[in-house]
Amino acid sequence: MGPQLSWYLALSAILFTIGAVGVIIKRNVIAMFMCIELMLNAVNLTFVAFSSYFQDVTGQLFVFIVMTVAAAEAAVGLGIIIAIFRNRETLDVDDASIMKL
């Protein structure tokens, strides 16, 4: 008997929780960014597991699009991080609490 669907869902839930806890407890913007990437990956694992479970390709197409969105998010997010660092000389989110750059 191979691994069941519930195992993959459990792994995905654990990874998502670790990512969410990281977003809450981290103060470095780059570390928070990486925790968000981890949460996206946990959801991707759910998509692929269900796609394999139902023998339907739609889930994997969703994963493909999620990866594209993650790449766009990485480009824009890191641009924002560089802009914040250039203006404030810090990466601490507590110091970047107003919208004005």
């Binding site: 929780t17 990281g22 570390a31 394999s52 339907d56 994997q60 641009g79």
Partner: protein, 221 residues
């Protein structure tokens, strides 16, 4: 055999994720996150999704993490300084919210026990590149095209965000001849540094200040 592979790679993924959150150095966090991506790619292979596994390694572990590590090294961040007094009250709040999340995870782990077992019984071509390509260019053509627009917007946004955004006042003019600017005008961080910086022309001064210099005479005075 597949159970053993799942346990190995799931353990690697969880261990690397915990290591990522517990590190204080962002560079070590990034390397742990690459470990998570690689183990997830291995799990995708065991789930009969080789195309997604390859894209995971190429896009996530390759492109995105290289970008993240590049930014970490570019900004050269030191270790986190101790939290200031004003925000101490947020610590119990964060602990409480993390507890709620863990409880939700436990609930999910409890409730998914009852799903029927039908995973990957027969050989199929669902995860292959061909079936993904067919799906992407027939039924999901519109999301695919919208994604290209999204990527274009990301390119433009990243470029406009990462540019130097110093703006000279529209009244600023540099008279032809030898100009002497103090250092703290040229570089806002060098406050009080009055060493002179000499320029000859307006274009040169604009270059020193890091702004675009328009040569056309039509701009409003």
């Amino acid at each position: 055999m597949s159970t053993l592979l799942f346990i190995v790679f799931a353990g690697m993924a969880i261990g690397c994720a915990i290591a990522m959150v517990s590190q204080t150095n962002p560079l070590y966090s990034a390397i742990s996150l690459i470990g998570v991506f690689i183990s997830l790619a291995s799990i995708y292979v065991t789930l009969a999704a080789p195309f997604i596994a390859a894209v995971q390694v190429i896009v996530y572990a390759g492109a995105i993490m290289v970008l993240v590590i590049f930014v970490i090294m570019l900004l050269n961040v030191e270790h986190a300084e101790p939290r200031r007094r004003r925000l101490k009250f947020l610590v119990p709040l964060a602990v409480g919210m993390a507890g709620i999340l863990l409880a939700e995870t436990a609930f999910i782990l409890y409730s998914v026990q009852s799903t029927p077992d039908r995973l990957a019984g027969n050989i199929s071509n669902v995860g292959l590149t061909r079936s993904i390509g067919v799906g992407l260019f027939t039924g999901y053509l519109l999301p695919f095209e919208v994604t290209s627009v999204l990527l274009l917007m990301a390119i433009v946004g990243a470029m406009s965000l990462a540019r130097r955004s110093t703006v000279l006042s529209s009244n600023a003019r540099v008279v032809p001849g030898v100009q002497v600017l103090a250092m703290d005008i040229v570089n806002p961080r060098a406050v009080g540094d009055l060493r002179p910086v000499q320029t000859e022309t307006t274009a040169e001064a604009a270059h020193l200040l890091g702004v675009d210099f328009q040569t056309d005479q039509n701009q409003p005075e």
